[in-house]
């Protein structure tokens, strides 16, 4: 049978060696009353060619970013993926390896993680990055828990501009320890420093902000850092690393912990997962960092080597007192990001950011010339912006989907006050022709 190499004859030999007559004899400890007395009720097994046909038919029902023009963002972006990434991550030595617990036989993985940590720390302007978390949202939640552990304080000021899906995840994670979230309004698309100052106090563990935020707008990170620090709180910034060829590193603006979604760095969108949770902090906080860390050391001949280190923070050693429960992370996605950042390189990342910005602003300019369509917020934006539409965004989206255009994300489900808005993202991949087609289609849809 497929994937099962042992033939009936070999089974017989093995049973003889063990000294039993059947596999059933090996299952005697499973209580008879709990044995399943029927076959599992699953759809029948398929031969490979039938299976491929079946899955292709399912895949064909989805409007993917190859067969449509994608202006969707909200935490996942259609950035370009250079070809070598897929070829290299498919090498079985990377792809089928386990967590590098035996470092001598895992130097490949350990070195790539070390490179990854270096690149992320550099982009974020932080001292230390970990080996990855699940995704941007859980990374942000873990940052909140870390700030609580560092400061001993129990409250957070969470900017309204943080992705609402992230805010839900943070709420889930802080519920166990009983921590409180206070929301700072964003009437003009970004957090109002005076509103934040009023919410911050002696119990505040951290101010949490995303920049560019969910609406695509740039937050005044430096001002928020000053407010947080004046109250003895930390500043946590969520930032998409792919934007940081162009935008200033959050660490240089006063952040203490920087997290983000690294999917744009060569990780497939894959309907939202697996993604790449990025996590970095100042070095004073290193012993409170969640997740794995790779460090450099030497072997007994003095040669350079790499190991998982500071493991006494982790669950397999510290159990209930660990800094986090995370074990499996997303190492392979971190490898994709490492190869991505090596490929685009120092110059390329700047161009990716500049092109995305130029195209997003071109799109916004054209779209807001349509009667009744305007930018919802005045604050400067990067590659994503919020449009106010004169007609139901859901209906507009459905109409454009029929023309092969994924127009954007309607916000009704995430924020009732923005139910007339559409969130539009434009990456370096979108061409002028695609943008013009989108403008024309939207114009007709709202006319």
């Amino acid at each position: 049978m497929r994937y099962l190499p042992t033939t009936p004859r070999e089974q017989k030999d093995m049973l003889a060696t063990i000294g039993v007559s059947s596999i059933e004899d090996l299952l005697v400890r499973v209580p008879a009353k709990a044995r399943l007395s029927r076959p599992l009720a699953l759809p029948p097994a398929l031969a490979e060619m039938d299976l491929v046909r079946h899955l292709r038919a399912m895949a064909a029902k989805n409007a993917d970013a190859d067969s449509t023009v994608c202006f969707l963002g909200a935490g996942s972006y259609d950035h370009d993926t250079p070809s070598p990434i897929n070829h290299l991550v498919l090498r079985g030595e990377f792809f089928t390896a386990y967590t590098p617990y035996q470092p001598e036989a895992s130097q490949g993985t350990l070195r790539t993680i070390y490179e990854y940590q270096t690149m992320i720390a550099e982009l974020y302007g932080m001292d230390v990055a970990n080996a990855s978390m699940y995704d941007g949202a859980s990374s942000l939640a873990e940052a909140a828990l870390m700030a609580h552990a560092v400061t001993g304080r129990t409250d957070f000021v969470l900017a309204r501009g943080v992705n609402p899906l992230y805010r839900r995840v943070v709420a889930t994670y802080v519920d166990g320890p009983g921590l409180k979230l206070r929301e700072a309004a964003a009437p003009d698309g970004i957090a109002d420093p005076d509103a934040v100052r009023k919410l911050v106090g002696g119990k505040t563990a951290a101010v949490i902000v995303q920049s560019p935020n969910f609406y695509g707008c740039l937050e005044n990170v430096r001002a928020l850092a000053e407010i947080a620090h004046a109250a003895g709180a930390l500043l946590i910034v969520a930032a998409d690393p792919i934007n940081l060829g162009v935008l200033e590193a959050p660490g240089n603006l006063g952040a203490d912990i920087v997290v983000g979604e690294g999917q744009g760095l060569g990780v497939p969108m894959s309907f939202g997962g697996p993604n790449l949770g990025v996590f970095a902090a100042r070095k004073e906080l290193v012993r409170r960092i969640p997740g794995r860390l790779v460090g450099a050391t030497v072997d007994l001949e003095g040669a350079r080597g790499f190991v998982l280190t500071l493991q006494t923070r982790e669950q397999h050693i510290r159990r209930a007192k660990a800094t986090s429960n995370i074990c499996t992370n997303v190492a392979l996605c971190a490898l994709m990001a490492t190869i991505y950042l090596s490929t685009v390189g120092k110059q390329g990342l700047v161009r990716v950011g500049a092109l995305s910005t130029a195209k997003a602003h071109y799109a916004a300019e054209r779209l807001t010339k349509i009667p009744g369509v305007s930018l919802r917020f005045p604050a400067p934006f990067f590659k994503e912006f919020l449009l106010k539409l004169p007609k139901s965004p859901e209906r507009v989206v459905a109409k454009l989907a029929k023309q092969g255009i994924l127009a954007g994300v309607p916000l009704r489900d995430h924020d009732r006050t923005l139910r007339d808005c559409l969130l539009v993202a434009v990456t370096e991949k979108r061409t002028r022709e695609e943008i013009d087609r989108f403008v024309l289609a939207l114009e007709q849809a709202v006319a």
């Binding site: 699953l42 895949a59 990377f94 993985t109 790539t112 200033e248 392979l332 092109l355 989206v397 989907a401």
Partner: protein, 492 residues
């Protein structure tokens, strides 16, 4: 000593960087480009460019190809890593996950335009529910530990909805570290329950702790000694009688597919590790996928959104006021779900049952072949893995870690060592069903050789590994003087 072969390469990508070298081409802008300073506030623009590598595409391909050769993977080496189920990762799974309709699908695509993806998720949920005997499954948790967190949070929400304030969760001393860590994260006090000499739950100790303040008992089946918990049904009944929920850590599900089901054993919650049982690759540490299955009374508390089917249309149900909330931004590690679905459809019910039968056969075969040479932690028959102890070898100066390092030289990855913690010098061996008898024999021969060397020539063991890219590494130095990122050496 001159380093040769894979040992000769000692570069990081930064160290092969050369200013001005590029690996990537972008088209010229086809829209009017204005200076960034006109579009964005100047103080928000990066003052100093990020120091990323400047290399050619071929530099990259050769560098990462060479680094990959410094790894042992399942594709190249037998990986008897207990509790990790390092089975073959079918290539067809990768092809299917990379179909544009899956791999290039944006998570915010309107449900009407993502029916195939939602159907796959819905059907996978049904299949996992059937395999586990549970009533519903959430595919959202990103890995086993997140599955645990969701499961424990659902238990907490359940007790709260009944107006009960329970503050403790009981966990055996043989448990995976994530169990106590996830439980503590969910706000519970963790109480350790003793195991007996064979790794089974000490029922007396369990009963002693099982008070009205206990929310749940969390247990791995088969347990971490590779044995099926003989009184598991009674344990579940005992817990339920005291109002506690019973959680099964499904890390070892590979032992029981089609043989018994967590739901039938009395469990209220169990999580799956798709990267163990259902062949999604480990990727050097992840991504995984940790769906969580529950009985009907916990359904109101499932993470949002829930994938629903109405007539023949699939969609998201967000209106779940009692939900524990969200675990990650989107819907789950979908790429892993495609792989697991592909695998389940490849195997079918009969195939999955044979998976477990062969996994159990292989583990017992290894245990039998090695029982004269190493101490066995608990008498067999075992399930899908067996735990040996190197305590006999330790008396001669060879530890479990030494055995592990020597195995690397003999062409095998190592078993899990020093886990479970209740076994001295533990060597936890999980061969999985996808390894042939020849491989198992070669591994057993190597283990027997090491046992013999312990008595005749322990120096060769202590010197190991010699064939790997580096020799034993100084862990103490790594922890004492953490060097967690590369920096350019001060130049002349």
């Amino acid at each position: 000593m001159e380093r040769q072969g894979t040992r000769a390469y000692d570069k990081l990508i930064f160290e092969i960087s050369s200013p001005g070298r590029i690996a990537y081409s972008l088209p010229d802008s086809d829209v009017p480009e204005r200076p960034l300073g006109e579009l964005l506030p100047r103080e928000q623009l990066r003052a100093k460019p990020a120091e990323l590598p400047e290399v050619s595409e071929f530099d990259i391909v050769r560098h990462y190809s060479r680094l990959s050769q410094m790894n042992y993977g399942v594709d190249t080496h037998f990986y008897p890593l207990g509790s990790c189920t390092m089975k073959y990762n079918p290539k067809i799974n990768e092809d299917m996950a990379r179909l544009a309709g899956f791999g290039r699908l944006h998570p915010m695509t309107p449900a009407a335009s993502a029916q195939g993806a939602l159907q796959l998720m819905y059907d996978l949920g049904l299949a996992l529910a059937e395999i586990s005997g549970m009533d519903a499954v959430s595919l959202q948790p990103a890995a086993g530990a997140q599955g645990e967190l969701s499961g424990v949070l659902m238990i907490r929400a359940y007790h709260r909805s009944r107006g009960e304030k329970r503050t403790k969760v009981l966990i055996p001393d043989s448990a995976h570290g994530t169990n106590p860590a996830s439980t503590a994260l969910a706000g519970y006090e963790v109480i350790e329950v003793k195991s007996d000499a064979e790794g089974a739950v000490d029922l007396g100790d369990l009963e002693r702790h099982l008070g009205p303040d206990v929310a749940a008992f969390m247990i791995t089946v088969p347990n971490t000694l590779g044995n099926f918990e003989p009184r598991v049904v009674e344990i579940a009944e005992l817990c339920h009688a005291k109002g506690a929920q019973v959680y099964m850590d499904g890390a070892n599900l590979n032992a029981i597919l089609g043989i018994t089901r967590p739901g039938d054993l009395g469990f209220d919650v169990c999580h799956f590790n798709l990267h163990k049982t259902f062949t999604t690759p480990h990727g050097g540490g992840g991504p995984g996928s940790g769906p969580v299955g529950i009985k009907a009374h916990l359904e109101p508390f499932l993470p949002t959104p829930v994938i629903v089917k109405q007539d023949d249309t699939y969609g998201f149900d967000w209106k779940r006021p009692k939900s524990i909330g969200k675990l990650q931004a989107f819907w789950g590690n979908f790429g892993m779900l495609v792989r697991a679905y592909t695998y389940i459809r490849t195997m079918g019910a009969d195939g999955l049952r044979r998976v477990s039968e062969n996994a159990v056969l292989n583990a017992n075969y290894i245990m039998k072949r090695l029982e004269a040479h190493y101490d066995v932690a608990a008498p067999g028959p075992c399930m899908h893995e067996c735990v040996l102890s190197a305590r006999r070898q330790k008396k001669l100066g060879v530890t479990a870690m030494d055995v592990a390092k020597r195995l690397l030289d003999l062409g095998f990855y190592a078993p899990s060592t020093y886990f479970p913690m209740i076994v001295e010098e533990a060597l936890m061996i999980e061969p999985t069903e996808t390894e042939s008898k020849e491989t198992l024999d070669a591994f057993c021969d190597a283990m027997i050789q090491i046992a013999r060397e312990t008595e005749t020539d322990p120096r060769v063991i202590h010197a190991a590994p010699l064939t790997t890219p580096v020799r034993r590494l100084d862990q103490t130095r790594a922890a004492r003087e953490p060097a967690l990122r590369w920096s350019r050496p001060a130049g002349p």
